[in-house]
């Protein structure tokens, strides 16, 4: 940027250092979360040999907090949305660049507070990432700090959503009509609304956990006439839509990648758009399925179960559209595509198992078992996580201007995919047979399944090391990336790699063709 004084105005995200640095931060948090996950699996290989029960409870709690609030929720919107949303709609930046910078600092503040909760004097949080009352109000661990951290992270998320929605309303280039927008932009739009409408509910709920601990307000404490079920309702009113905050942008990334590597236009563009909006809307009304066994009237159970089945329809529409795009396409199996195809496979398993546990009768058997752990890892890691890796391999050349080794990327993908299934698939069987989740120990009959799963975690870890190693190596040794290495047709591929500050010399005008 020639004139330095503009920097103060808006430009943390303009000079690429900032907007690329964010990706580094997020992946670092992810790595910490992975290590904790590996330790959890290590304990289950031989319970009690490597750690005590208390340490185990702390590990799975912090693993959840880091992976959900510090990695998957901000992952695609913050790391990739900030970078690509403005380019994709032909804008120089988001609508509120300074607010964007603020939301990033709020995020780091939240992350720091969570770190304090873990390392400060006292016991790290051990409630599970859900902070269920009344345990979270009574237990002597650093809950108030951890909850405050999550509260702060929530505001970062709200501001990001607000910024993206406004950007899409106001900043589209001339000719970039709503239905010419790339699908990643559309899913960020739907996500932005969910962030704005759901996150405040979590925020206020968490405030009352803190007030419950500090000021003795008993809203969720049964000894004071409070109601723990009310906490669950408010918590899941946010946290189920949060699942869609994680998965909608992932669907957007997949909708970008599949047409490029199938050398076809997306099949049923409008259907993909409206199904994204449909998921965002219907997803707001399904939270009760987390609480079928917590105490709820039969009428409520039937309604929540029914709406849960409804949300599968727009998701099925998307899967159908992606498969339709692949049909008779000229498919190129480069690494971004391999990750995208894995997403289709893993997310379908995650989604369909979700329907099984969303039905009332099976839910009684499956609730609170390893089945659930298997299910949400297939959705969040197999779906959200693999989409982040797909996006990472797809956009890496654009963001950093360097090509990575395709051979190593494929090897990393292969180990990751195999390791993932070996790690999480046995959980469905263990859960179906009745192994409860969150338990430190298990009876001998569950041993084999746990050994297989732990071995899977090691294969997965090797895959991740190869994947990250390959990308980091290419930062230093990689060949220079051309502006459009994959034959992409969205606007980000029309600018050099990496994009100049302000993205475009001249704001593009979008014609009738693409």
């Amino acid at each position: 940027m020639e004139d330095g004084n503009m920097d103060l105005q808006s430009s943390f995200y303009h000079d690429g250092g900032g907007r690329r640095g964010i990706l580094g931060w997020l992946l670092s948090f992810f790595s910490v979360g992975v290590m904790m996950g590996l330790l959890i699996r290590l304990n289950l290989l031989s319970p009690g040999r490597f750690m005590g029960a208390q340490r185990y409870n702390e590990l799975f709690t912090i693993h959840g907090i880091i992976m959900i609030f510090l990695f998957i929720i901000p992952g695609l919107p913050v790391a990739f949305g900030n970078f690509f949303l403005p380019i994709m709609i032909g804008a120089r930046d988001v609508a509120f660049p300074r607010l964007n910078r603020l939301s990033w600092w709020i995020y780091l503040t939240g992350a720091t507070i969570v770190a304090f909760a873990i390392f400060l004097h006292g016991t790290p949080p051990d409630t599970g990432w859900t902070f269920y009352a009344p345990y979270s109000i009574r237990v002597k661990a650093n809950i108030a700090l951890a909850v405050l951290g999550v509260f702060v992270l929530g505001f970062s998320s709200i501001l990001t959503g607000l910024n993206f929605v406004t950007t899409i309303h106001r900043m589209r280039a001339p000719g970039m009509t709503w239905f010419k927008m790339p699908l990643f932009a559309w899913t960020l739009y739907a996500t932005g609304w969910v962030q704005m409408l759901a996150t405040p509910v979590l925020a206020i709920t968490l405030v009352f956990i803190i007030l419950g601990r500090i000021a003795g307000i008993g809203f969720f404490d049964p000894t004071k006439g409070g109601d723990p079920i009310l906490y669950e309702h408010l918590f899941w009113t946010y946290s189920h839509p949060a699942v869609y905050i994680m998965i909608l942008p992932a669907m957007g990334v997949i909708s970008e990648i599949i047409p490029v590597f199938a050398r076809k236009r997306i099949y049923g563009y409008h259907a993909v758009v409206f199904s994204a909006l449909g998921i965002a809307i219907v997803g707001y009304f399904v939270w009760g399925h987390h609480m079928f066994v917590s105490g709820m009237s039969n009428t409520a159970r039937v309604i929540f179960s029914f709406i849960t089945f409804l949300v599968a329809i727009p998701t099925g529409v998307k899967i159908f559209n992606w498969l339709g795009t692949l049909y008779k396409g000229s498919i190129v199996a480069d690494s971004p595509m391999l990750y995208a195809l894995s997403f289709l496979f893993l997310f379908s398993i995650g989604g369909l198992t979700g329907l099984i546990q969303g039905a009332l009768a099976p839910n009684l058997q499956l609730h609170g078992t390893y089945w659930i752990v298997g299910h949400f890892h297939y959705v969040m890691f197999g779906g959200g996580g693999f989409a982040i890796f797909a996006g990472l391999h797809y956009w890496f050349p654009k963001m950093f201007g360097k090509m990575y080794s395709e051979r190593l990327a494929k090897l990393g993908w292969f180990l990751l995919f195999i390791g993932f299934n070996v790690l999480y698939f046995p959980m469905f069987i263990l859960g179906y047979e009745g192994m409860p989740r969150r338990y430190f120990d298990y009876p001998p009959r569950f041993h084999t399944g746990n050994v297989i799963s732990t071995v899977g975690s090691w294969i997965l870890a090797v895959g991740l090391i190869i994947m990250f190693g390959n990308l980091i190596r290419s930062l230093f040794r990689g060949e220079k990336a051309p502006s459009d290495p994959w034959g992409g047709r969205t606007l980000e591929w029309t600018v050099p790699s990496p994009p100049p500050s302000e993205n475009f010399g001249e704001i593009p005008v979008i014609g009738d063709g693409e």
């Binding site: 020639e2 503009m6 105005q9 808006s10 120089r92 930046d93 609508a95 509120f96 607010l99 709200i158 607000l162 910024n163 929605v165 406004t166 309303h169 106001r170 900043m171 704005m196 409408l197 996150t199 405040p200 509910v201 925020a203 206020i204 709920t205 405030v207 009352f208 500090i214 000021a215 003795g216 809203f219 006439g225 409070g226 109601d227 009310l230 408010l234 704001i507």
Partner: protein, 116 residues
């Protein structure tokens, strides 16, 4: 290079502000929901609790709250009419009323046995 960013998008800023207010409604809406649920369940206890409140401090705070909003609204009008100096004074008054509000709140809480 011509600087496009100097053209401020006031329409966009309004979108942002309305969206923010929407999130605030949901935030405080959650609190009012909790309050209503418990007030409905325990009407007598809420009534008894209210009788222990300090009427004078509570009234002063209500007045302060409304006045500070008035100051802020007036500050915006002042800016619109080009009187920046008056606007700064009015905004300062808003902040001062906010601080006094918090001091009174603190006093209220410390003389009751609210914090256990």
């Amino acid at each position: 290079m011509e600087d496009k960013r100097e053209e401020r998008d006031y329409g966009g800023a309004k979108y942002g502000m309305w969206f923010f207010l929407l999130t605030e409604i949901l935030f405080f809406g959650g609190m009012f929901l909790l309050y209503s649920v418990f007030r409905y369940r325990f009407p007598d206890q809420f009534h008894a609790g209210a009788s222990e409140e300090n009427l004078v401090l509570g009234s002063i705070n209500t007045v302060l709250l409304l006045t500070s909003s008035l100051f802020m609204a007036a500050a915006i009008t002042a800016v619109k009419r080009g009187n920046n100096k008056l606007s700064v004074i009015l905004q300062a008054l808003t902040v001062v009323s906010g601080v006094i509000f918090l001091i009174i709140k603190g006093t209220e809480l410390s003389i009751s046995d609210f914090i256990t």
